[in-house]
């Protein structure tokens, strides 16, 4: 076997342009539209000039009436600007699944599944020529196009909003690595959209403040109603009442959107502690409003000794301060302050509704099932053994040590974390072998990692709510699978820049030296190895789900959504 067989040009960010056919003429045309025509090319760094960003990270797409552009629930890596025509946003509850033409993720055929028995390679990390040299691109356009049937009926049966030329959409989902919140389809036959890869959008936003202001204003205008309606507490409000609430709603952004680097430094230095995190609201302060978590995570804590003890962590769709405001509204003569502190972990986007608005508009007429239970006397006594959560005491069942461990390690980010019960794990490595068997003899995780209270979080991709690994990927090779939201890596477009592996706070991504099908290492012209990023893909192509979990004979390994504590608490007390 040759040691070095294949020499190739080292892959680069813009080797795979979003649209390789994107012409100079089209580029000039895009640059003639606002907001691009108002951008100052001098504001852009020399390595990332405006023109090159647009040429490589955007593409023009044309849609016919009724053609779906983005679907609610899908994960997308790009935003859109309307160049010509208009699109319609379908408001909640949205379209039924069958009309969205969803297809499940491609699984191996039964034959291919069985064939792994003999077809798995004996040499590690072999890649096909396409995977080595690069090929396809990622983005919304790689899927088959889906048309809505009977558009007039859709318009009759659903609330929609029309948005027209010059407006942006899809940027929140693309930038915050969250699923699309609404289905959007073209409303005219000649609709032309500029699709921008999120990496390009990020670079444009960094260099041009006007674009950020423009996009923020669009969010305020188009999305806030939906964001509020997503909370049961606001669903009973009339449109007029909701407009009043919107007018008083304040946006808050805390922490660092690209939090991974700082977190890793703090964790390495061992100086990470809740007291150093930015406080969004402080225990003991007057409850001047309710915080609704729009994205990111925050720590719920209470004073303990001279520090802060973590009671829970809360993520998107949760609120803070409502129980105190409800208590004060019901007991005007016995007002209480915030009972806990809320601190940002990483980054947190909040919506803040002032107490006055809550008392005058939201709480009167609010259905009982949308309200939290009242604070009890015991809870108000600040007895630290009380559950203090609205989740049926999951945090208490888990225990303070493990709770602190999960929060300090930021494991709440994982939707499929590999949790191992060390008191049952025989260290047999059946999980590792199963993983290797299902990935061409290459295990995609390490059965090793930090542990607390007999529970270990292994170094396996957790398929995060906020996959910070995607932040630095210059080509979009690491992306969310559109149907299930799993974070996967496209080997063809991975250029081995190590950005994802560096960004991942959980050491779950490994860089490997690629080999060709003859088993020889692939190098560039300077004889440096060609690297590819690898990680757990949750056995997305296999039958039956993650092989690691199915392979554990002792019920010791589980892929758990640590975003909600109930599942973990139930598993621990099984």
């Amino acid at each position: 076997m040759d040691t070095i067989h294949l020499k190739i040009e080292r892959p680069d960010r813009w080797d795979n342009a979003f649209d390789p056919q994107f012409s100079e003429w089209e580029l000039d045309r895009v640059l003639s539209y606002a907001p691009f025509r108002d951008m100052q090319p001098d504001n852009f760094p020399k390595k990332q000039p405006l023109r090159v960003i647009l040429q490589n990270d955007t593409r023009l797409r044309r849609f016919k009436r009724g053609e779906i552009v983005v679907r609610a629930g899908d994960y997308g890596s790009s935003a859109f600007m309307i160049i010509r025509g208009q699109v319609r946003v379908v408001l909640p509850p949205g379209l039924p699944e069958r009309s969205l033409g969803r297809k499940s993720a491609g699984k191996k055929s039964v034959f291919h599944a069985i064939a792994q028995l003999w077809s798995n390679r004996h040499t590690p990390e072999v890649r096909t020529p396409e995977e080595i040299r690069g090929g396809d691109v990622v983005g919304e356009g790689t899927e088959a196009r889906v048309f809505l049937q009977d558009v007039p009926r859709v318009l009759d049966q659903n609330k929609t909003v029309t948005i027209g030329a010059g407006e942006f959409f899809g940027e929140i989902a693309a930038l915050s690595r969250m699923p699309r919140t609404a289905t959007i389809f073209a409303d005219s036959d000649d609709t032309e959209l500029l699709e921008i890869r999120w990496q390009g959008l990020r670079d444009l936003l960094r260099s041009d403040p006007a674009l950020r202001t423009h996009i923020d204003a669009i969010y305020r205008k188009n999305t806030l109603s939906n964001a509020l309606r997503a909370f049961p507490l606001f669903r009973h409000l009339s449109d007029e009442q909701l407009e009043k609430v919107k007018a008083q709603t304040q946006f808050g952004t805390f922490g660092d959107y690209e939090w991974s680097g700082d977190y890793k430094k703090l964790a390495k230095a061992g100086t990470h502690s809740p007291e150093k995190e930015t406080a969004i609201a402080q225990e003991g302060d007057y409850p001047d409003g309710v915080y609704l978590i729009r994205s990111g995570f925050a720590r719920l804590s209470r004073k303990f000794g001279t520090g802060q003890r973590t009671l829970n962590y809360i993520g998107a769709g949760r609120w803070f301060g409502l129980r105190e405001i409800l208590h004060n509204a019901r007991n005007p003569s016995a007002n209480i302050p915030y009972q806990f502190s809320l601190r940002v972990i990483g980054y947190t986007h909040t919506l803040f509704i002032p107490t006055k608005v809550m008392e005058e508009i939201v709480l009167p007429g609010a259905p009982a099932d949308a309200l939290p239970r009242a604070l009890t006397e015991d809870e108000l006594d600040h007895d630290d053994d009380d559950p203090l959560t609205e989740e049926g005491g999951s945090a208490l069942r888990i225990g303070p040590e493990l709770m602190e461990f999960l929060t300090a390690g930021r494991y709440f980010n994982g939707t499929a974390s590999m949790v191992i019960d060390l008191q049952r794990c025989t260290r047999c490595d059946d999980c590792v072998r199963a993983c290797a068997s299902t990935h061409d003899n290459n295990p995609r995780f390490l059965r090793h990692g930090p542990s607390s209270d007999g529970i270990q979080v292994a170094q396996a991709c957790m398929h995060c709510v906020d996959p910070v690994c995607m932040i630095g990927c210059p080509t979009g090779a690491i992306h969310r699978d559109a149907s299930g939201g799993n974070v996967v890596i496209n080997q063809s477009t991975c250029i081995g820049c190590t950005s994802c592996a560096t960004n991942c706070p959980y050491e779950a991504i490994r860089m490997v030296e690629a080999r060709d099908e003859g088993g020889a290492f692939v190098t560039d012209q300077e004889l440096k190895p060609i690297l590819k990023a690898t990680k757990c893909d949750l056995c997305i192509e296999q039958y039956g789900g993650p092989a690691c979990e199915r392979a554990c004979p002792h019920d010791a390994l589980k892929r758990i959504n640590l975003n909600r504590l109930d599942a973990l608490a139930n598993w621990l007390k099984r």
Partner: protein
């Protein structure tokens, strides 16, 4: 009742019912069926084949053949049931003849090693976790090498730093061998700390003769020795969890071969004997 407790109660109840059914069936059929041994024999063979299939399931993780935990539960309970079938098949007495002796011994060895393995698989993880310092088995030699290298550097540095050979002599006499390889397998299995205690006593004794710099070096060596002892503990217990399978599985293959021969022999010498 938790999930595990519920699963155990259901499993034990089903096992008891099946065992009673086997014994009752044998008692009922014995007077009317001349060759009831054929029936129990085939049932036992079917149980053994099912038990052996678990190993095959482990080799096919990419097929939806049910979770390994379900297979292990079935493996354990069918294993217990096969013992009842074995007793029924042998007529509740030790078989006659060397071939059947070997077959019976193999069966009992496989069964006992299985029961031991299950017990050991539940016990050892608790001990490993309680002691802490988990290291993946494959990494143990690497960590051991690192500890040995660190100790060697410390010992050699002490010579230049203190101009005496007291520390390096102690290192050569008591630590080189200990740090060079995994040690005290059996002692760790029985939770004995005698070696570490003895080593600590020697360190304490030597401490009296050292100056501050030498004491610091010796304290570091003592810490390395403690870490190495913890590593040996991990090695011994994790190795034991692997070793029992090296007994259970080869014995199973031997049992399968002898069982096939047993079936051939039985049918070779039973021509013309009616079952009823």
């Amino acid at each position: 009742m938790g999930y595990f407790a519920k699963r155990r109660v259901i499993g034990v109840l089903l096992l008891l019912m099946a065992s009673v059914a086997v014994v009752w069936g044998q008692l009922q059929l014995a007077p009317v069926m001349r060759q009831v041994g054929f029936l129990t024999g085939w049932a036992l063979l079917a149980a053994c084949v099912f038990l052996a299939l678990y190993n095959l399931r482990k080799r096919l993780p990419f097929l939806p053949l049910g979770s390994s935990r379900t297979w292990l539960q079935l493996h354990a309970y069918v294993g217990y049931l096969s013992f009842v079938l074995f007793l029924a098949h042998t007529g509740w007495r030790w078989p006659v003849g060397w071939f059947d002796d070997v077959l019976a011994l193999l069966f009992l060895s496989v069964a006992l090693s299985g029961v031991f393995g299950l017990f050991w698989s539940r016990l050892i993880p608790l001990r490993l976790t309680a002691r802490g310092g988990d290291v993946p088995y494959e990494r143990i030699p690497i960590v051991r090498r690192q500890l040995a290298d660190r100790a060697k550097s410390l010992a050699l540095e002490s010579v230049t730093a203190t101009k005496t050979t007291t520390i390096v002599d102690f290192y050569s006499q008591h630590l080189v061998g200990f740090l060079g390889t995994s040690a005290n397998f059996w002692r760790h299995l029985v939770e004995s700390r005698a070696v570490l205690t003895r080593l600590q006593a020697r360190i304490d004794d030597l401490n009296r003769f050292l100056n501050a710099d030498q004491r610091r070096a010796l304290a570091e060596l003592a810490e390395i020795a403690r870490q190495k002892d913890g590593l040996d503990y991990q090695h011994a217990l994790q190795l034991s969890l692997r070793l029992w399978l090296f007994i259970h599985i080869p014995l199973t293959y031997s049992l399968v071969i002898f069982t096939v021969l047993h079936v051939v022999v039985v049918f070779s010498f039973s021509a013309g004997v009616p079952p009823f």
